[in-house]
């Protein structure tokens, strides 16, 4: 968790309880598509098998600390959306590790986690973003103090159950072809 990246999410709703987002490393025309995120309501999260829950992170801290924000959107409007996001869970997969300087997307996908408490965020990363976007995380934090998280509390199996998740690549025998008709096209 010592490697942290600033991420710009561009999200669309499938319905009230489900969003899907493309993640870029910067909000510009040459932004690199580094990953994606799915965001679901607490109700949907609770339907996931226990084995799956570890992939998902809570959003409460990110929202309440002010580090999650919508550039260009006035505070009062943003906060209406943040009230909802604070109760959700997200699954983020990155395919491109730009933070370690990869100029191409190399290796296998990484499961990302989110900040869950003070002291985790790299302060240089924070101050740099505050400066560029003209925001103050501390001021926002006060304005968001009233917001609440998931109704049943943050699930203990979420946030990787407190561990890290490492993805590994395994070479396996290819599954044999079934006897289905196939043609050359």
């Amino acid at each position: 968790m010592t490697r942290q990246v600033e991420a710009h999410h561009f999200c669309g709703h499938q319905n009230e309880e489900f969003r899907q987002c493309l993640i870029y490393d910067k909000p510009d025309a040459d932004g690199r598509l580094i990953g994606l995120e799915y965001i679901i309501s607490e109700e949907l999260f609770l339907t996931l098998p226990d084995d799956e829950k570890k992939f998902w992170h809570s959003h409460l801290y990110e929202v309440k600390s002010g580090v999650l924000f919508m550039p260009g959107v006035p505070g009062p409007i943003q906060r209406q959306d943040h009230e909802k996001v604070a109760k959700t869970y997200g699954k983020v997969i990155h395919f491109w590790q730009v933070d370690r300087g990869d100029s191409l997307p190399l290796g296998i996908p990484q499961v990302m986690m989110a900040l869950t408490r003070d002291g985790q965020l790299d302060q240089n990363l924070a101050q740099d973003a505050e400066k560029r976007f003209g925001v103050s995380f501390n001021e926002e934090r006060e304005k968001r103090a009233y917001m609440e998280g998931p109704a049943h509390g943050i699930h203990p199996l979420a946030n990787a159950g407190g561990y890290g998740i490492r993805t590994v690549l395994r070479e396996v025998d290819c599954k044999p072809v079934q006897s289905v008709p196939r043609v050359f096209v």
Partner: protein, 242 residues
């Protein structure tokens, strides 16, 4: 598929599940859309429809819709959806590199990539509703490229929510395991009112690449496939987590 209702999967079962959008959320989204630039997303300038195979189970094949951004002459990035509808589900990301870039990659990395030549020559890779003439030059270039496609939501097997680890996807190839099922192609032909077979014939002149790197399409050359597994590990951190 063309006639299915928003979010449904043919059986009246909703994928993903969830309550309908509230008016408030519609207004919030519209407001954000007006106030924010959304610049990176607006760089997508091509819709490619093609097919892909799960490397860990190549009997499972899917139709894919790639929304492509050209970053430079040698590199493209694609958001991949399972249809071209407004409610299309975001199922993964593909990166595309030129043969020039591909040859510079380490061998271990090359194993994860697939070639595009057959997909293009066979007419499987199309830009729906765009005349072939318009894309011909582009297709010639694409025929020499390699792609790396990670699928994160297996909607084809009916997963209501994106579960599990990402899957590495492979491209169709002219050998048994790599051939796309005729019914999948027929379904697409019907929907777009086109003939993949006729398109294939118009592409005869597109040159085959003189060299296809044998590390790409690893399964085809080596009979081995790849799967992603996950392990719990102790995390390096600056403060307690979570």
């Amino acid at each position: 598929m063309a006639a299915t209702t928003r979010g449904s999967h043919g059986h009246g079962e909703q994928i993903p599940p969830g309550k309908a959008m509230s008016t408030e959320q519609h207004i919030l989204d519209k407001g954000a859309e007006m106030l924010q630039s959304l610049t990176p997303v607006k760089q997508m300038n091509q819709h490619v429809c093609t097919f892909a195979l799960y490397n860990h189970d190549m009997n499972r094949q899917i139709e894919t819709h790639h929304y492509v951004t050209r970053v430079n002459q040698d590199f493209l990035q694609c958001a991949v959806y399972d249809s071209d509808h407004s409610h299309a589900r975001l199922i993964g990301v593909e990166y595309i590199v030129s043969d020039r870039i591909f040859e510079t990659l380490p061998k271990e990395e090359q194993k994860l990539w697939h070639s595009h030549a057959y997909e293009i020559k066979s007419g499987l890779w199309v830009n729906p509703r765009v005349p072939e003439m318009v894309v011909k030059k582009d297709l010639e270039n694409f025929a020499k490229t390699y792609g790396k496609f990670w699928c994160t939501w297996q909607t084809d097997r009916g997963d209501k929510l994106p579960v599990g680890a990402p899957s590495l996807m492979m491209s169709p190839q002219a050998v048994n395991l790599g051939m796309v099922k005729p019914e999948l192609i027929q379904k697409r032909d019907d929907r777009y009112n086109m003939s993949t077979d006729a398109i294939k014939r118009t592409r005869l002149e597109i040159p085959e690449p003189e060299w296809l790197n044998p590390e790409a399409d690893y399964w085809k050359q080596h009979g081995k496939c790849f799967e992603i597994h996950v392990e719990d590990v102790e995390m390096k951190k600056i403060a307690p987590f979570p």
